[in-house]
């Protein structure tokens, strides 16, 4: 019991409290900048920058990359990239205060780390693809969209959770 308590202790915030603070942050963000939060935009900028440095001509010829490349400004110089940097810092602070920082692979005891990593990669690819198609992820489209009652935000949110619940059965071994 003691060991279990140690490994399973819920040292996290009360979810309602966390949600309340998150809501205040969203209000503040909209109040100051007029826009919502986001996360995958920074990754998009990274990919664009990466491709632009490795294969500039290819990037310019591609209809998608070229929309984010301009002569005088790096695609990394966007609001969302700075915000994502902040997320990394903030999470590091919080994790540090609570002693959660260490290298590890978190997975269900029933599966191997390797399997976890393979599924993480798969999930990442799908999420990256989907986030680009829907123009935003759970934070950019769903959360910030819902805050201003955007129709697209609600549709995206319903689609994410709907399909996640629908397919959860097939992935159950990974988690429980």
């Amino acid at each position: 019991m003691d060991i279990k308590n140690q490994t399973n202790s819920h040292v996290y915030w009360n979810p309602y409290f966390g949600g309340f603070i998150l809501g205040i942050i969203i209000i503040f963000t909209f109040y100051v900048t007029g826009r919502g939060l986001g996360a995958s935009g920074a990754m998009k900028s990274s990919v664009v920058t990466l491709v632009d440095t490795v294969a500039p001509t290819h990037a310019e010829n591609n209809a998608y990359y070229s929309t984010f490349i301009s002569e005088d400004d790096s695609p990394m110089n966007t609001w969302l990239v700075y915000e994502a940097l902040g997320v990394l810092i903030g999470a590091f602070i919080s994790g540090g205060l609570n002693g959660r920082i260490r290298w590890r692979i978190q997975h269900s005891p029933k599966i191997t780390s390797q399997r976890r990593l393979v599924f993480a990669l798969l999930g990442g690819i799908l999420f990256g693809l989907g986030a680009q198609i829907a123009r935003g992820c759970t934070s950019g489209a769903a959360l910030s969209g819902m805050a201003v009652l955007s129709t697209g935000g609600f549709i995206t949110m319903l689609a994410i959770f709907g399909s996640a619940y629908a397919t959860a059965y097939f992935f159950r071994k990974n988690w429980i």
Partner: protein, 196 residues
């Protein structure tokens, strides 16, 4: 009257600095709420932990109520806020793909960044996967473009598309959320505890 930066009440140069500050707060709250743990996140789909649902809906409701109060009191012009554009089928298809990715990988981009910051190797791989996914999307952009740019309905809100009264909608939305929280707690009691 807000929003402050689009109305030039704060110089635009501050935008990046404010972005970092907001990001820090965002990351801190996500991590502190336990969103850096993929097993906690996935719990919402198996009924052993509803933190995602609670945090997500509480945040959405608090923000929407707060924004409408600020609009009512005249601190904020809600029509000037950025409304996520609605591309009907892109939103649905993208959402479905993201949902599968969510269950498979156990993160969403924001939470994976938090997990990256505290050294979860699976999150590093996950972020690598996202980058790969975005790369694939860009390479296949010509194929996907009809969906990506089609069925554009504008930057609309539910008020525009259904002609609902926003205040009543928010009221009903919050009641739905409270009911959802209560149901979530009941479900959690029924489901076998999973330790992570």
């Amino acid at each position: 009257m807000g929003p402050l930066i689009p109305n030039h009440l704060i110089p635009i140069e501050w935008n990046s600095i404010i972005a970092i500050i907001i990001g820090i707060a965002f990351g801190f709250v996500l991590e502190a709420s336990g969103f850096s743990s993929s097993r906690k996140l996935a719990g919402v789909f198996y009924g052993y932990d509803f933190a995602v649902l609670k945090v997500f809906f509480t945040a959405a409701i608090v923000s929407v109520i707060g924004l409408y109060y600020m609009d009512y009191l005249g601190y904020l012009d809600i029509t000037q806020l950025y409304v996520h554009p609605t591309y009907l089928w892109a939103a649905i298809i993208g959402g479905v793909i993201m949902g599968v990715g969510f269950v498979a990988g156990g993160f969403c981009p924001g939470t994976s960044l938090c997990a990256v910051a505290i050294g979860k190797l699976d999150a590093w791989v996950y972020v690598g996967g996202i980058l790969l996914g975005i790369f694939m999307f860009s390479e296949l952009f010509n194929v996907i473009e009809p969906i990506y740019d089609g069925y554009f309905l504008g930057n609309i809100t539910l008020i525009d598309s259904f002609d609902w009264n926003p205040y009543w909608f928010i009221f009903i939305f919050s009641i739905i959320a409270i009911v959802a929280f209560a149901v979530a707690d009941m479900v959690r009691k029924k489901v076998k505890k999973v330790f992570y």
